[in-house]
Subunit: 189 residues, 2 copies
């Protein structure tokens, strides 16, 4: 029989890493935080080379952060975007970030979302996705990005979600290369 | 600041619902369980009209079950497939169900997977996906299935994943219609 509960333990540094008191005014600052989270996750050896964060679009207030926890948590779905979106929904107490009374939110991620995360972003109700590295950069070190096509972006845009990127691409790609150089696990290649 | 942990509480009936001692030899039995889980979730009012289960392909041994928990858990990613795959990985102690020493696994679901769940299935390492209702059936009651195209299935198949369905479609569709008739929440329509 299976348990009644799934527990996802984030590394203790994660919640303490970002400055929660400042605001993140633009893509440069928002994707910059996502890339810094990705780098920290590699340096500390607590997961894959990906980071993400959720912000209130207008104010730039930070709502939640996430990093890739696939290997340490033994859960292939714990991409950085999934962790950040789950935390954001937990903090807002809503299964949609587009819920009544909530301001528009956006997702910033250190790398272009894979097929699963593009779907997760769509269901989360974020109004915008901004990313650092391009999917080719992830593929260059062996990570598959899944079935994402130009038509996938058209579909997401048609539902009112803006997509911006790549932003700070060289810096984002450098984190992926750092992970590969250190022999990080490329799961399900 | 955000918490260090995400806890996903499944409804207490979930783990107790299936017969863990029998085997599920074919699509009919496997998708049948997924549909029964979906129906139970609607009848008990514990989430959306979707169920899923993970099996060892050859033996038909049941490994894990899941139901849609989006609304009760306030988490837009908790589709039935995601819950079942996370439970299966927890039970096998592996971030991939295609890991060394593990037999091939397959995912049975009461309804054709959305874009997020198709990606999640790909990353989970299952060797096969079997589904009950078709995506049109979910759309008929207002659920969006996201950017899934014929090319998405080609992509997934090219990575060695078989796809079978629809199976027991009328029965699966009846669960969706039951949910709609009872005024169930259609989130992010």
């Amino acid at each position: 029989m299976q348990p009644d509960r799934i527990r996802i333990d984030c590394p203790p540094w994660l919640a303490r890493f970002p400055d929660w008191d400042r605001t993140y005014p633009d893509d440069d600052a928002r994707v910059g935080l996502a890339i810094a989270l990705a780098r920290e996750n590699v340096v500390r050896g607590t997961g894959g080379p990906f980071g993400a964060a959720v912000f209130e679009s207008a104010t730039g207030r930070l709502v939640a952060v996430g990093v890739n926890l696939v290997v340490p948590c033994k859960n292939s779905m714990l991409h950085a975007e999934v962790v950040a979106l789950a935390m954001a929904e937990h903090r807002t107490g809503s299964f949609t970030l587009a819920g009544p009374g909530l301001p528009p939110h956006e997702l910033a991620t250190s790398c272009e979302p894979c097929a699963m995360c593009l779907g997760a972003a769509l269901w989360s109700g974020v109004a915008r996705i901004a990313f650092g590295a391009a999917r080719e950069d992830a593929r260059a070190i062996g990570f598959d990005e899944g079935p994402v096509f130009p038509a996938s972006y058209d579909y997401v845009r048609a539902r009112g979600i803006e997509i911006g990127g790549p932003v700070r691409r060289a810096e984002a790609r450098a984190v992926l290369e750092l992970y590969a150089r250190h022999g990080g696990i490329i799961y399900n290649p």
